[in-house]
């Protein structure tokens, strides 16, 4: 391969660092007005009255929308929609949109909007909220009985606080109408989703909505669902007959889209004395809102990991007076892994078996739920290579047994897994006679390097250099693609790019057979490169692509292609896997924890671009450090309000918190998942990290911290 598998810098890198890449709020639109959201200050009840008179008097104010004069949605689903009625369902709910000539004028006037409420008692504590059953997966075997009969048992409860995505770029949209045609610049992980949502909400034809989102400054799930602001922005634009822009403040981001749910998990494990798992009961409760159920099945991910004959994963949702949670990088998996991978560690100490060894003893060679083989699974190689690189064999088993001066040293490990998914995706490739190609698909690039990898795949199979490929995404005028989430973009859109390029080659090949004596050559034996189509076996068979087109009076060949997950996949379970090895140093006197080394070995199919892949993996590790030690959205339950809603109080790692981070790939040759062998990695890389850090902290200190984040006060 010329490009695939080789390091390539981002094709959009220069545009990004020179400011040419435009993010939603940066588009210059003539005559734009600015909307600022006014938020509720109670968590539950209704608006008794809302007084906008003072605000309306201020200079620059064009119009103020409340539930009394706002556009109502044409269709209904459970998702929150702003200004639809007087009901208040969470603290920070939008209750008005002030539209003015400038952002500053809108913000100022927003502060003068006065609401009176009829308050009702709210409940924001997951522990106390009423629960409903959610999907928890089938019971495998007879876990209760097997647990009773097990020689060794452990049982522990783990808690994860609410966490927020906090991408650098806040949500923003600019909406404008032309008759009943709506166009909107939006920050989105899936323009087609936003298009569908807006078309339904306004009761207009889908093709009358255009959504453009070429660059996204991080999203991590925060822009997977359409969110409430595109409708709010578009509705205001329609009413005032002018383009309207709404741009969130950092504080507004905390109630603007959702969050990783507060999760309480109880894990009970039964094992034999030699470490064979007999039973796992992994219960989970996650919070949701009162008006919408959000479930991410945190306990589901352990099920394919261990060869355990008896397994149960009951799952409940707790209805709280908070916004609905949403997908946040490695949703469910990382929360579940914190519990199950901590519990396996606890069991290892109980059994006096090395925690890595315990995982090897219970290694699942096939999917324990379905009995299907894995299409590929190089987790064992990850264990071996990761352990060797880390020097795991030098680990002393006893907690508190390793030191570096005043620092206690702890080594911990954990495993991560994530589905290797693929969804239907379409792409259009236009190969021109001049040897350039335009490629388009309505996917997104929220940071993983989608612009680059699709460019590479197209270049590889069209046989042209990547500079000759122009790949467009993030626009509803382009062919259908799924949202960018679930780590399935490269597998889905990349497969489409591959398929489309092969079809173009097939068309050219057919011309060559007809006009240039390629009879007897099979298309599989041909390749495109340097402007020629040629046989790899027979030097004499070679023709310039320009000549092929010219002969057929073509200036370009257009291929619209939709790739589908293969049927063969159904006979297999396809997962990505990884092993994490972590060293922490703990200053026990002061409670300070440093994550001094992380070695992560992952098996995620074929690595298309090692450079951006490593970048993804490092990002996941840094995220894991934050999740383990720092991240937490604190709620004052008396007010039902999130309080750490800015980046000074909501901590994520600073540079000084990150030390040695190394990421290795164990490549898998998996042609069952898709022709290029692509799995995803953007979420997998995070999954085991928080557990591995907590396990290392236990090894260092002998303290098992089961509630994240592991802050100083928990160590003292």
């Amino acid at each position: 391969m010329r490009y695939i598998g080789k390091e390539m810098s981002r094709v959009d890198g220069v545009a990004k660092v020179t400011g040419q890449a435009k993010y939603a709020a940066e588009f210059q639109v003539k005559n734009v007005a600015y909307g600022f959201i006014v938020q509720s200050t109670i968590a539950k009840g209704s608006i008794k009255s809302i007084d906008t008179s003072e605000a309306e008097k201020q200079s620059g104010v064009i119009k103020i929308f409340t539930h009394l004069n706002s556009v109502k949605r044409k269709d209904k689903d459970d998702a929150f929609c702003a200004l639809q009625n007087e009901k208040i369902v969470f603290n920070g709910q939008p209750i008005a949109l002030v539209v003015a000539e400038s952002f500053e004028q809108a913000r100022f006037a927003a502060r003068l909007v006065k609401a009176e409420y009829l308050k009702e008692a709210h409940l924001t504590e997951t522990e106390k909220a009423p629960t409903v059953d959610s999907r928890g997966g089938k019971v495998r075997g007879n876990p209760k009985e097997a647990l009773q009969n097990a020689a060794v048992r452990i049982s522990a409860e783990y808690t994860i606080p609410i966490e927020h995505h906090n991408p650098m770029e806040p949500h923003a949209a600019i909406a404008m109408w032309d008759g009943d045609k709506l166009s909107i610049f939006d920050k989105s992980q899936g323009v087609k989703e936003v298009q569908r949502h807006l078309a339904k909400s306004f009761g207009i034809a889908t093709e009358n909505v255009s959504v453009v989102s070429p660059f996204v400054g991080g999203a991590f799930g925060a822009s997977l669902n359409p969110n409430y602001y595109p409708f709010l922005t578009a509705a205001a634009a329609r009413e005032i007959k002018r383009p309207v822009k709404v741009n969130y403040t950092r504080r507004q981001m905390f109630t603007g889209h959702g969050y990783r749910p507060y999760t309480i998990q109880k894990v009970q494990i039964g094992a034999s004395k030699d470490g064979k798992l007999q039973a796992i009961i992994h219960e989970a409760i996650g919070n949701t809102s009162t008006f919408e159920d959000f479930s991410e099945t945190p306990n589901g991910f352990g099920r394919t990991l261990y060869n355990c004959p008896n397994y149960d994963t009951p799952y409940k949702l707790a209805k709280t007076d908070l916004p609905t949670p949403t997908w946040m990088r490695a949703p469910g998996a990382v929360s579940g892994a914190f519990a199950i991978e901590s519990a396996i560690d606890e069991l290892a100490y109980e059994l006096k078996i090395d925690p890595l060894q315990l995982r090897i003893i219970n290694y699942a060679e096939k999917d324990p739920d379905t009995g299907k083989p894995f299409s590929s699974k190089a987790l064992m190689e990850c264990f071996k290579q990761g352990a060797a690189k880390f020097g795991w064999e030098k680990r002393k088993p006893e907690p508190r047994s390793m030191r570096d001066g005043k620092w206690l040293v702890g080594w911990g490990t954990a495993t991560g897994t994530w589905g290797a998914m693929q969804l239907p995706a379409s792409i259009r490739i236009t190969l021109k006679a001049d040897g350039t190609a335009n490629v388009g698909s309505a996917t997104a690039d929220i940071g993983p390097g989608t612009y680059t990898v699709i460019t590479m795949i197209a270049a590889e199979f069209l046989g042209i250099s990547p500079e000759k490929v122009k790949f467009e995404l993030g626009d509803t005028k382009l062919p259908n693609a799924p949202v960018q989430g679930g780590s399935f973009t490269t597998a889905s859109v990349g497969s489409a790019a591959h398929g489309a390029a092969l079809n173009i080659k097939k068309k050219l090949f057919d011309f060559a057979v007809r006009d240039f004596g390629f009879a007897g050559v099979s298309v599989e034996d041909t390749e495109m490169a340097k402007g020629f189509l040629f046989s790899k076996k027979d030097n004499s068979k070679s023709v310039a692509i320009a000549d092929l087109m010219k002969k057929n009076n073509l200036t370009e060949i257009v291929e619209n292609y939709t790739s589908m997950p293969s049927k063969e996949r159904n006979n297999y379970t396809s997962m990505a896997h990884g092993a994490q090895f972590v060293e922490v140093k703990v200053d026990e006197d002061l409670g300070i924890i440093k994550v001094t080394k992380v070695i992560e070995a992952t098996a995620v199919g074929k690595i298309m671009n090692p450079k951006t892949s490593h970048s993804q993996e490092m990002g996941g590790i840094v995220w894991g450090i934050g999740m383990a030690l720092q991240e937490q959205t604190e709620i004052d339950h008396r007010y039902g309000k999130m309080m750490t809603t800015n980046l000074a109080d909501y901590h994520i790692p600073s540079n000084a918190d990150v030390h040695t981070v190394e990421t290795d790939f164990i490549e898998e040759d998996d042609k069952i998942i898709n022709p290029l062998g692509i799995k995803g990695m953007g979420e997998l890389c995070l999954v085991g990290i928080p557990a591995a850090i907590a396990n290392a902290v236990f090894h260092a200190t002998g303290k098992r911290i089961r509630t994240l984040p592991i802050t100083i006060d928990k160590i003292l």
Partner: protein, 330 residues
């Protein structure tokens, strides 16, 4: 942000006059705190008097000590040879605060007057006596993990966030100010910031319109044995849970002179007088450090979520003194 008037002052007299004439006017220095607070609608000045063009940014030696201009940047102050050589404690404290970018903008005067980071103070929908007198203190029974363990009142339990000021308290600095009539006065550092008592809306004993012109640190012999320890929720760019500025002057192993000030524990930099008194004349041993730390911390009055600060404070005092005494060997 509410509409406000912006004026650029040409000299100190004009600046102090402009602010003292208008009870809702404020000085604008680096702007790293006041502008944030205005965007959050917490501070609502009707006029900002920009003082950044006044010539108050010199750092020079004065009577064997150092005089720090009120408008000298935090970065320049921390890196100035006079400060690094004679008052390394101050360099360490400044560099432990905020981020490089913020320190490049932040001024010494502004740093002293930065306001609390209590989340309820920042949230205008919440009751807060400091922001709105007599509205109540939401932190008292709320999220108070970051709050005070010393000197708080029923009205307010906030802590003062500056790191720089903790070192200045330990170094017995004084603050020079000038009023609208051109009258100067010098305030001892211990009297500059206030405890909340009945009026938490007042952070300091400055009157409206009084301009800080410089901060003076007298000569001392602590340069060889001083240390600023900051314990926080991440390695950089976080406010202190507890910090300790420790400075020792010894004769052999005997303590001749000692200064200990704490941050993150009170409404002002907290001089650990009790501990200091116990240590003078004693051997600089860990046992003595511990005894002194315990004596100081036994007067702490923690709240529901910050009990850990008492034990952490003790250990931080001991660690800071040991680091001051022995450097990295501690």
């Amino acid at each position: 942000m509410r509409p406000f008037k912006y004026e650029r002052a040409t000299d100190a007299a004009a600046a102090t006059k402009a602010v003292s004439a208008n009870s809702s006017a404020k000085f604008l220095a680096g702007g790293t705190n006041i502008l944030d607070l205005m965007k959050e609608d917490v501070e609502r000045p009707t006029a900002l008097i920009d003082i950044t063009r006044l010539s108050l940014s010199q750092i020079r030696s004065a009577n064997g000590g150092v005089s720090l201009g009120a408008l000298a940047k935090n970065t320049d102050t921390a890196n100035h040879p006079l400060v690094r050589q004679n008052f390394p404690l101050l360099s360490m404290a400044i560099l432990a605060g905020a981020s490089g970018q913020i320190r490049n903008m932040a001024t010494n005067g502004g740093n002293l007057l930065q306001r609390t980071r209590c989340p309820y103070f920042y949230d205008v929908a919440m009751p807060c006596n400091k922001r709105e007198p007599n509205s109540g203190c939401a932190a008292m029974e709320g999220l108070n993990r970051m709050h005070a363990i010393f000197g708080w009142s029923e009205k307010c339990i906030a802590v003062y966030p500056s790191d720089m000021a903790v070192a200045l308290a330990a170094l017995d600095a004084t603050v020079k100010v000038q009023d609208a009539n051109g009258k100067e006065r010098t305030i001892n550092f211990g009297d500059f910031h206030r405890l909340p008592e009945n009026s938490p809306e007042k952070d300091t004993n400055l009157t409206n319109g009084e301009l800080i012109t410089s901060i003076e640190i007298p000569k001392n012999n602590f340069a060889g044995k001083s240390y600023y320890l900051k314990v926080r929720d991440r390695a950089s760019y976080a406010f202190a849970l507890v910090s300790v500025a420790a400075a020792l002057e010894t004769n052999g192993n005997k303590i001749k002179n000692v200064r200990i000030a704490m941050g993150g524990v009170a409404h002002k930099p907290w001089r650990a007088m009790e501990a200091e008194k116990m240590l003078v004349g004693k051997e600089a041993t860990e046992a003595n450090f511990k005894m002194a730390a315990e004596a100081e911390m036994k007067n702490a009055k923690p709240l529901e979520h910050n009990k850990f600060k008492v034990e952490l404070g003790k250990r931080a005092i001991v660690r800071a003194l040991s680091m001051a005494m022995n450097g990295d060997k501690a």
